[in-house]
Structure formats: structure tokens, C-alpha cells
């Protein structure tokens, strides 16, 4: 299934570390994501996966290490600037704009590519109108792609759980990212939904020409679709490589057997 990926690196993380007080949440994490790649980030709960997303997107600044998107150094940039640079994400603990309509959730994210400003909006210039129409059109297409166009005018918070996860992805794609970070996109879904989401992710990667980094703490899905997998435990990278190597790695087996899922500790603090 894996496509040979030999193109330019779009995302480079070098030796990232972050501690919360005494707790080393991420230690010496490195990753290179090439254009069109679909990579996985796995590990038990509390391993530091979401924290890595927060470092990449600028929610936290690393104690050490560097992050590049293409050739642009991202350290010190705010999340909004990184979104503009081409980094998009979904949230493990869904963070939609609950009171807004499904459509407006996506349209809001389209705003990052909008050229016309406040004055155009207040005067309703032809340029603004053209762009606003384009925003709506593109947003509806995105909802169509994710299969939730029928719910465009409902409040985001009223969507069923699975659709909320789909909306998170639609919203992230609306920013026209080069890199898409998906934090447990199938959490809480049944087998059938997981299947659908799996093909959706593969489709998105092709249709949107975006490199995908996927967090999933159960191995199954990741093993099946990812070209490259990084395994974390207690903030450290214990293995990295293609699925076959990971599966047989003694350190990985150890981590998964030694640290049973502890749902209670999941996303203890901070932005998940």
C-alpha cells in the first residue's frame, strides 16, 4: 500500500524536547515528513503524542529543538502564523466552534487564505463578494468530501460524535495545508466508521496533496495505512520505521504490554 516517497521534506522536526515542570513530556523527538507522506505517531496514553502536535503547531514552544515547514523555520511563530504557513490540525478533544453552523466552522478556516480585508467586507466590494462566494463554495465542497454536507446549516455542537470528527478534518483542510496533523481521528468510532475514515484519510492525502501525520494509539489502523511509523513511550522515541519493522520491535512490544491503556490519565492537562 505504501507509496514510495522521495520528494522534498515538508516538515522537519529536530531534537524537540519539552518538560512540564519535572515531567519530560517530549524528549529529543525528530521527524521528517516528505510531501505526500502518510506517517503515523503511536504510543500508549500519555506518551507525548498530542504534546508533539502542540509543539509543531505552536501551542507550546519547545525547550530545545527546531521545527521547519519546508525551508521556513517555525520556532517562535504563533499557531495562526503556522496555519498560514501551511500547518493544520485536528484536536483529540474536539474543539469545534460549537455555536456556529457546520458551514461557518469551515468558512472560518477558509479565512486564513482570504485576501480581502475588513474594509472590503464592510463596503461589500466586488472583490469581497467574489471571495465570499468562493469561500462558501469551497466550504460546501469540503463538507461534501467529508460526507456531512447535509448538515451544513446545523449547529456544530449538535452533530453526532463521528460527524464532529469529520468536521474537524474538513475545517483543517479549509486552511489549504501542506501538512495535516490528525489527532486520533477515529477515537470513539465503531469498526464500520473506522473503515470509512481510513479510506477517507487515504483519499484526502491524494486529493489535497497534503502530507499527513496521524496519531492513533491503537496500532491496527496505523500499521495498515502509514508509510512510516514513530513509536513513543514516556516522551522518548523507542522505534521508528516501516510497519513491518515496528511490529516486531521488542521495545515496542514491551511498551505496549508494559503500559496498559489508562484512559483516566488521557489528556490530563493542556490542549488535547
Amino acid at each position: 500500500m505504501s507509496t514510495a516517497v522521495t520528494s522534498e521534506p515538508v516538515l522537519t522536526a529536530q531534537h524537540l524536547s519539552l518538560a512540564f515542570g519535572g515531567l519530560k513530556a517530549v524528549a529529543d523527538f525528530s521527524l521528517t515528513l516528505r510531501a505526500g507522506a502518510l506517517a503515523g505517531l503511536i504510543g500508549p496514553n500519555g506518551a507525548g503524542k498530542t504534546t508533539i502536535f502542540n509543539l509543531l503547531t505552536g501551542v507550546y514552544q519547545p525547550d530545545q529543538g527546531e521545527i521547519f515547514l519546508g525551508k521556513q523555520r517555525l520556532n517562535g511563530l504563533k499557531p495562526s502564523a503556522r496555519a498560514k504557513a501551511g500547518m493544520a490540525r485536528t484536536f483529540q478533544n474536539i474543539r469545534l466552534f460549537g455555536e456556529l453552523s457546520v458551514l461557518d466552522n469551515v468558512r472560518t478556516a477558509c479565512g486564513v487564505r482570504a485576501k480581502s480585508g475588513l474594509v472590503g467586507a464592510l463596503l461589500r466590494t466586488p472583490g469581497w463578494r467574489a471571495e465570499e462566494r468562493a469561500i462558501t463554495e469551497r466550504s460546501m465542497d469540503l463538507l461534501q468530501t467529508l460526507g456531512i454536507a447535509g448538515r451544513a446549516h446545523e449547529q456544530a455542537k449538535s452533530l453526532p460524535y463521528g460527524d464532529q470528527r469529520r468536521l474537524e478534518i474538513a475545517r483543517a483542510l479549509a486552511t489549504e495545508p501542506k501538512v495535516l496533523l490528525l489527532d486520533e481521528p477515529v477515537a470513539g468510532m465503531n469498526t464500520q466508521e473506522k473503515h470509512a475514515m481510513r479510506s477517507m484519510i487515504q483519499q484526502i492525502r491524494v486529493d489535497f496533496e497534503v502530507a499527513v501525520l496521524l496519531i492513533e494509539h491503537d496500532m491496527g489502523l496505523v500499521m495498515e495505512i502509514c508509510d512510516h511509523i514513530t513509536v513513543l513511550d514516556h516522551g522518548t522515541t523507542i522505534a521508528a520505521g516501516v510497519a513491518a519493522d515496528i511490529q516486531n520491535d521488542p521495545a515496542v512490544i514491551e511498551a505496549y504490554l508494559g503500559a496498559p491503556d489508562d484512559a483516566a490519565s488521557e489528556g490530563a492537562d493542556g490542549v488535547a
Binding site: T57, V59, K78, P79, S80, A81, A83, K84, A88, R89, F91, R95, L96, F97, G98, E99, L100, D104, R107, T108, A109, C110, G111, V112, R113, A114, K115, G117, L118, A121, L122, L123, R124, T125, P126, W128, R129, A130, E131, E132, R133, A134, I135, E137, R138, D141, L142, T145, H153, E154, R171, A172, L173, A174, T175, E176, D207, F208, V271
Partner: protein, 379 residues
């Protein structure tokens, strides 16, 4: 999938139609303002005309505060302070400016002649100065939220009030001429208030008597403010504000520069509050005690009652809460109790305000009453 830029380039908006659609609401607003002044005000007499005027100023205040408190979700208690800044700026300009220009502080010229134009420009300048103050107050909002921000904005209003109270007496015409405009900068009346401001905003029927077209002026600004609020809400900039309110972390992650969004909201709201202050200040004596903490609270109540983010809700709440105390005047000893109890009752029944973020015509009961059935609602 085609990018936004590609899709935008593919759009061919009709320029003439666009211009028409852009101007139409404002034209309607100006006509409505004129009708209120020329037809309604004379028909209902001075007492009710004054209420029409008060309602207009209240709408201006609640719709503008809604931009900060409703759209952006930043709890500001400083609207009275922005009114004060704008009101005093405008009053200073019309009083001392009239003296400098025309040698008297009387109303100058007839309807929409020199004096009226000068007055409206003074209101806009008041709005701009208030907007600068909004920029100053907006900056701490980047670090503070909730109660802390409320306290800072409240503190701003109180500081402004105290500063004004310590200014000197208004100079009589002769002395003002001698000292010039800059020399009279600190002579805005102190705690006694700014007396002898030319009363451009008088609700009494007009035309034959110059300058008495306050309702007209007020509702022109109301129209602009309401149109601006609606256009903001239906644009990327407005959605960015709502996103900040809904989830700041997600908003940032989707490329919303939350700092800029918040400050923009403060500046826009303060601008219209400043204009409202200018209108308010040209009715009679402009007194600092009228634009204190209580005023800010009153406006916040309108926004909260109407629904955070609902423009039509803010308009309706401004109308109701301005007229209600008058309607209850016959029960004057129970008036404040009834007023307070009805507010409490509404907030218990609908903590999100009457309409939440929705406009009145977007609510389910409105659709049920007037709307065609949409597919989703059909059985």
C-alpha cells in the same frame, strides 16, 4: 480540490449590481432616519420623540458593544467610558470649534448646513478618539480574560470619569476666543458637566427651527452601525471574532490572529460608542456622572438579554429596555423591582439571552411562524 484563490478568480461579480446592493441598506437607513424625524417625531410630540431618540442611542450602544461582548466574547464593561471620551471630544469640538469658526457657540445654519455637518464630523472625530482609547484598552485584553478584563475596562471608564471631573469650568465665549482652542483644552466643565454645548440633538420637531434634527442624525449613525455589524458578522473578519469566542485555541490553529481580532473588536465597538457619546452629549449639559459605571452596566444588560452575538437581539433589547422603565412609570415605586425581576426571570429561562447568537429570523419559532418548511424540518 480547487483552492480559494482559483475559485475567487473564477467569480465574475456584477460590479453595478454589487454597488447597488452595497449602498441600498444605507440608503434605506437614511430614508428611515428622515421619516422618523420628519413624520414620526412631529406626530407623536416631544415626549415620545425624546423616547425615539433615546432608543436610537441605545441601539447604537448595544449593537456596538455586541461586537466585543457578543461576537468576540470579551467581557467589556467600558462602554460608558468610550461614550464619555467620544462625547467630550465632540462637545469640545462643537463648542470651542463653533466659537473659533463663527464667534458663537449657538447652533449654526439650517438643516444639513454648516453647523449640522460640523456637528456630525465632530461626532465622527469623537468616535475616532474613542476608537484610539479602544485600542489602548484592547491591548490588555490580549493577556486578560473574563472577570479580569471586565475590571480593567471598568477601571478605564472610571479613570476617564475622574479625569473629566477634575477639568476646569467651561469658558464663556469672550474668554474662549481669547484663549483659542488649544488653550481651552482642559476647560470642559469638571464635575458640573459641559454646559452650553450647542444642542444639535434635540428631539423637538424641527426644519423651521434650525439644527433640531437629533433623531435624523442619530438614526443615520444607527443605520451605519447596524449595517456594519451585519456585514462584519457575515464576513471572514466577523467569523474570526465568533471563533475567538467559541474556542480561542482552535481559532488560532485555524489561522485566526486572535490578538488582532480582539483589538479590532474593541476598536470598532469603541468607535460607535464614541459617536453615541457625541449624540448623547449634544442634548443638554453633558455630565460625567451620567456616563459612569451604571451606564456601562445598562448596555451590557442589553447585550446579554438580546443574546451574545445577535444583532437583532441587541436592537430589540435596546428598544425594550429603554421603553420598559417608561411603561412602568405609573408603578413608579415598584418600577425598579419589576425591571430587575423580569431581567432575572429572562436570564433564568434563557441564560444565552433571548436569541443566543442567532438573528431573530434564524430562530426556530420564527421559522415556524413565518418560514417555509425546509427539508430538515419536514416530517
Amino acid at each position: 480540490m480547487k483552492t480559494l484563490a482559483e475559485r475567487t478568480a473564477a467569480q465574475r461579480p456584477n460590479v453595478a449590481l454589487t454597488a447597488l446592493l452595497s449602498l441600498a441598506p444605507l440608503a434605506v437607513g437614511v430614508i428611515a432616519a428622515f421619516l422618523l424625524q420628519a413624520v414620526l417625531a412631529p406626530a407623536v410630540g416631544p415626549f415620545y420623540a425624546k423616547l425615539v431618540l433615546d432608543v436610537g442611542i441605545a441601539i447604537l450602544l448595544s449593537v456596538s458593544l455586541n461586537i466585543v461582548n457578543g461576537f468576540a466574547g470579551q467581557f467589556s464593561l467600558g462602554h460608558g467610558g468610550f461614550m464619555l471620551v467620544g462625547g467630550y471630544t465632540a462637545a469640545y469640538l462643537t463648542y470651542y470649534g463653533s466659537i473659533a469658526l463663527w464667534g458663537t457657540a449657538e447652533i449654526h445654519g439650517g438643516f444639513m448646513e454648516g453647523g449640522d455637518i460640523f456637528f456630525m464630523v465632530a461626532c465622527v472625530v469623537g468616535g475616532i478618539v474613542a476608537a484610539l482609547a479602544g485600542l489602548l484598552v484592547g491591548l490588555p485584553s490580549l493577556r486578560l480574560r473574563g472577570d479580569y478584563l471586565a475590571i480593567v475596562t471598568l477601571g478605564f471608564g472610571e479613570i476617564m470619569r475622574v479625569v473629566i471631573q477634575r477639568t476646569g469650568d467651561v469658558l464663556p465665549v469672550a474668554e474662549a476666543k481669547q484663549k483659542g482652542m488649544l488653550g481651552s483644552l482642559t476647560n470642559v466643565g469638571g464635575s458640573l458637566g459641559f454646559t452650553d454645548v450647542p444642542q444639535y440633538v434635540s428631539p423637538t420637531p424641527w426644519l423651521e427651527k434650525t439644527g433640531h434634527a437629533g433623531i435624523f442624525f442619530t438614526y443615520i449613525f444607527v443605520a451605519i452601525c447596524v449595517v456594519v455589524a451585519f456585514r462584519l458578522k457575515a464576513s471572514s473578519n466577523g467569523r474570526a471574532l465568533l471563533a475567538v469566542r467559541e474556542n480561542e485555541v482552535a481559532a488560532e490553529a485555524m489561522g485566526v490572529v486572535t490578538a488582532r481580532a480582539k483589538v479590532t473588536a474593541f476598536v470598532m465597538a469603541a468607535f460607535f460608542a464614541g459617536i453615541a457619546g457625541g449624540l448623547f452629549g449634544h442634548q443638554s449639559t453633558l455630565s460625567p456622572s451620567e456616563l459612569g459605571f451604571q451606564k456601562s452596566i445598562d448596555i451590557v444588560i442589553m447585550v446579554v438579554l438580546g443574546g451574545m452575538g445577535s444583532i437583532s437581539g441587541a436592537v430589540l433589547a435596546a428598544i425594550v429596555l429603554t421603553l420598559l422603565p417608561e411603561a412602568l412609570r405609573n408603578f413608579s415605586q415598584y418600577r425598579m423591582i419589576i425591571y430587575a425581576l423580569s431581567l432575572i426571570a429572562i436570564m433564568i429561562a434563557r441564560p444565552q439571552g433571548l436569541f443566543g447568537t442567532k438573528e431573530i429570523w434564524e430562530t426556530t419559532w420564527w421559522r415556524r411562524l413565518f418560514g417555509r418548511r425546509t427539508k430538515a424540518e419536514a416530517p
